[in-house]
């Protein structure tokens, strides 16, 4: 995972609540044994017609969405399945942060393992962002703040451990492996 300090980008907005992981990447694209190249299937059934042509009206397909690295969506983004293919697809497409008033638990956890920054904001900020697609925002991981175009800064929850992992590109497996002594002791004591 690459270290992330700052993200500066215009936003692309999907103004829907409860966007589930089946929309982010439909199940038929999970028949893969690698984690690469899933970006082309991101939001497949919203982005493409049945004949494979791009739907020009869909937000991600509009010319002004080109290069946007921050996705804004309605409440409860990423609900549903535990598929890590969802953050893999977003990252492969070029999205590096997701902003919503609520982000589903498993999606949030999977995002943090891959360097996709999940940002939960208050209702007012969320509403403003939904109403202003293309807003230029900047995200500071160290300070856990989102800066809006008017210069105001909104803090978002990002606990110290995951903040450290994002800033340093640290993979959490290394941390678990370093706890070998404690794990072995637990197994010794608790194994029924």
């Amino acid at each position: 995972m690459e270290p992330i300090q700052q993200i500066r980008s215009r936003t692309v907005v999907l103004p829907f609540t409860n966007i589930d992981t089946d929309q982010i990447i439909p199940a038929r694209f999970l028949r893969t044994t690698t984690r690469v190249g899933l970006g082309k299937q991101l939001f497949a059934d919203w982005r493409y017609s049945a004949d494979g042509a791009l739907k020009p009206e869909f937000a991600l397909n509009r010319p002004e969405a080109t290069g946007c690295a921050v996705l804004v969506a309605g409440r409860n983004f990423g609900c549903g399945s535990s598929r890590e293919h969802a953050p893999w697809a977003l990252l492969d497409y070029g999205i590096r942060a997701v902003i919503s008033t609520e982000i589903a638990d498993i999606f949030r956890s999977n995002s943090l393992k891959n360097g996709l920054v999940p940002i939960e904001v208050d209702e007012l900020t969320g509403q403003w962002l939904l109403e202003h697609p293309g807003a230029e925002v900047s995200i500071d991981v160290a300070g856990a703040t989102l800066r809006l175009p008017d210069g105001s800064a909104v803090e978002f929850p990002l606990e110290a451990f995951v903040r450290y992992c994002l800033l340093n590109g640290t993979d959490q497996l290394g941390f678990l492996l370093s706890r070998e002594r404690e794990i072995a002791a637990y197994e010794q004591a608790a194994r029924p």
């Binding site: 589930d20 089946d22 999970l30 028949r31 549903g80 589903a104 678990l176 029924p192």
Partner: protein
């Protein structure tokens, strides 16, 4: 109950700055969310720490047609065949037990764990699948994880976790005839909303829960994630113990007695505090069905599609479904009926569907697919002659698998078609691009198959 299981498994307690290191007793894996995790192990030269705590099966992408499983016909979808072959290779290389394609123990991951007694009370259980919450029916702390975390558990048998909050759902009273565990959990999701459980572990309590059999309790816990909760739990009791006692991998003899003594201490203490609580009036529940594109968009089968003003997301859902606000849901046309999945693919589910279908034929033009949750469920159903009832009624009878629940294995619903499904998700495209899914109980699905339109199963029960 949750706190007890959590504290018993905390290898390292959480601090304000760092998550807990939580020990995992049982790890279930399948072909779709594990290959990338084994790749990481291979790249880093790591082994599977506890192969005896790990069990693999093939369910999500496997075909359900007998000729592709047993008849020597190649698996029709090449990428599925590749994924299955990869799991077979990974299990051999890393020494993990696999219920392979032709094994009579194979089945949907959340059906087989309990079925063989791999799932036990008081355990921590994880799987790279969000419906792992199913195993909470035994008083286990069971939740879905992503593929990176599958790798963490394979390598260290541990996960880094923050302690969730607790949410008690009290269900006093008793369910009326024709109202099932599926109707209860759909009502609960409708009540608290699909994000209402986010950040919580649910605990289902009360007389209506206690009166449910283990298979019905699994149906309830299975859909906890559809309310946003990673886990749902029910305290173990005599019904739990009698279900488990004869299971092949449950403890035996003295070990059984010792386990039983430990399990008796699991239930939440009287007066236990929860972060949130609600009470559901079970006596007023009716058979339920979804009308929209998430499991919280649910009404009584006898009810009406709601009307909402100035809600474009709601309008989008109704447009996708081709439904009109204010119309009755009963009588809406049905093209496909799917009975199966980790929610409703157990023997009691098949029995309740068969009870309704006996002596009837499905309506002209309706396609019905009955997919047992495991090969053991299939065998038991055939021993009772349920397969004959389904086949005589005009339904297809298949090998076990996730099948039409998520349409990644060849079993799909065509665009624009209406499917009454006993599965767990009615998201857009879940059963195939453009497919329109209505979630319901096996009884409602069977009744609707016979009439070819959404039908209240109580019309059949009342003669």
């Amino acid at each position: 109950m949750f706190q007890k299981v959590w504290e018993q498994h905390a290898v390292v307690a959480e601090t304000p700055d760092t998550p807990a290191v939580l020990y995992i007793d049982r790890h279930l894996i399948h072909e779709v969310t594990s290959p990338q995790a084994f790749t990481v192990l291979r790249e880093r030269g790591l082994k599977v720490r506890c192969p005896d705590r790990t069990l693999a099966t093939i369910d999500h992408s496997s075909p359900t047609r007998s000729d592709q499983i047993f008849g020597g016909v190649p698996i029709a979808i090449e990428s599925a065949a590749t994924q299955i072959a990869q799991l077979q290779r990974n299990c051999v290389e890393f020494g993990v037990e696999l219920f392979d394609l032709k094994s009579d123990q194979r089945g949907v991951v959340h059906i087989i764990g309990p079925e063989i007694g791999f799932t036990l009370p008081g355990q921590t259980i994880v799987c790279g699948d969000s419906h792992t919450s199913t195993h909470g029916a035994f008083g286990a702390l069971a939740f879905g994880i992503g593929t990176t975390e599958v790798g963490h558990v394979l390598a260290t048998q541990c996960l880094l976790q923050r302690r969730p909050r607790t949410f008690a759902i009290h269900v006093p009273g008793a369910l009326s005839p024709g109202v099932t565990a599926k109707d209860l959990i759909l009502s609960i999701i409708g009540e608290i909303g699909i994000g209402g459980g986010t950040g919580y572990v649910l605990e289902y309590r009360g007389a209506a829960i206690r009166s449910l059999g283990m298979e019905e309790r699994m149906t309830v816990c299975n859909m906890s994630i559809e309310a946003g909760a990673r886990a749902g739990m029910i305290a173990p009791d005599e019904i739990t113990y009698s279900y488990l006692k004869t299971r092949p991998r449950a403890p035996k003899g003295d070990a059984w007695e010792r386990s039983l003594a430990r399990w008796h201490t699991l239930a939440s203490d009287p007066g236990a505090k929860f972060d949130r609580e609600i009470t559901i009036d079970s006596s007023r529940l009716e058979p339920m069905i979804t009308y929209g594109t998430n499991p919280g968009m649910v009404v009584a089968v006898s009810g009406f599609i709601p009307e909402r003003r100035d809600d474009p997301v709601f309008d989008k859902a109704l447009a996708y479904m081709g439904f009109t606000a204010g119309a009755p849901i009963g009588g809406q046309p049905v093209n496909v009926v799917f009975i199966g999945s980790c929610t409703n693919g157990r023997l009691s589910d098949l029995r309740s569907a068969a009870q309704l279908l006996r002596g009837h034929h499905i309506a002209r033009g309706v396609r019905a697919l009955v997919v047992p949750g495991s090969q053991q469920v299939k065998k038991a159903a055939e021993a009772e002659g349920l397969d004959r009832i389904f086949i005589d009624a005009g339904a297809e009878w298949r090998e076990s698998g996730c099948s039409m629940c998520l349409g990644m294995n060849g079993d799909t619903v065509a665009s624009g078609q209406y499917s009454i499904s006993t599965s767990n998700r009615n998201f857009e495209g879940r059963q195939g691009p453009g497919a329109r899914t209505l979630l319901a109980s096996p009884m409602t699905a069977a009744a609707s198959a016979v009439r070819g339109r959404v039908t209240d199963p109580r019309e059949f029960l009342n003669g």
